[in-house]
Amino acid sequence: MGNFHHTPGEYDPITYVPHTESHGTKELWRTFWILLGITILDFILYFTMPPGLFRNVVFIFFGVVKAYYIVGAFMHMKNEKVNLAMCILVPTVFIIGLVAGLLYEGNALSTY
């Protein structure tokens, strides 16, 4: 970083890297077993539950749970500032709007 004149102790937005510490591997392995368990449960439910709306809701719910663990534990979102987490997570509500709108449209198209 020789291009930047930098005095120690002064904040530089380009080169700033916060000090990080290891939180151990216990939680990471716990997350792995949870993700593996849910995937196995997905597999079992596919063969044991009758196909239909309820099963699909269960699968989507499991998908969201898996997303929570991947983003929260693996991507360390739990350890980030709440402001940063909100900046990234809140805009995803647009996806929910897109899902609602386009499934409605798809349904309407099927009647043609």
Binding site: Y11, P18, H19, F43, V71, F74, L84, G106
Partner: protein, 252 residues
Amino acid sequence: MANHNTAAFEEKPMWAGGRSPFNVSYGKLMMWIFLLSDAFTFSSLLVGYGAIRFSFSTAAVKWPDPAAIFNHFPFMHGYFLPLLFVSLMTFILIFSSVTMVLAVEAGHRNSKKEVSKYMFYTVLGGLAFLGCQAWEWSQFIGDGGRLDSNFFGITEQGYRHLSTVSFGDHFHWNEGDRTWGPVPFASLFFIVTGFHGFHVFSGVVINVIIWINTIRGTYEKRGHYEMVEKTGLYWHFVDLVWVFVFTFYYLI
């Protein structure tokens, strides 16, 4: 530049300058914003897939049951094993996510040896996943899946049969109930899994670069392993997308 001591900046007012309000480096913040935009790209593809699939809900030729089509497993030729191979692919990707996060954790302890070890495992996991996907594609193409045609439709009769049979003979339909089906089933399979697979491929390339840099001591000289964290974010995102591809393309 070595790790800054955060405490000195933390005392300053949040938005008055001279500190990072989110307490995050420039690169990591940009990676998060890129991942948000990539999440929109993937959700557009998946939601578009949902809309097209819904538009076939009253069609004469039904949308096929995906797990019934992807029923092959390597070295198990002739057996009907729906969903098993995709579940294995999911496991491979989740496990490579674990080795990635272990590399990040080792980076926090500045352990060059462990970072390079876990980066190597992560690259292996990514390559294994890509190999599985290539195999899956070749099976699908061999069975008659094309970008512009699809031999996996089910007639109304076959669909009614599928929805009434119970576990055991769940997926078996008469050959007469099989017909040319909705073309988007095959084309969207190639587009969605192909776009995800390309993300995995670029992830592997980036992971290899980070792995080489770690071995060469680039991050040891720099004093921190933040680059490992940033690629880790990307790699976990690829895993996250696969969770939803798996849910919407194979389970539902």
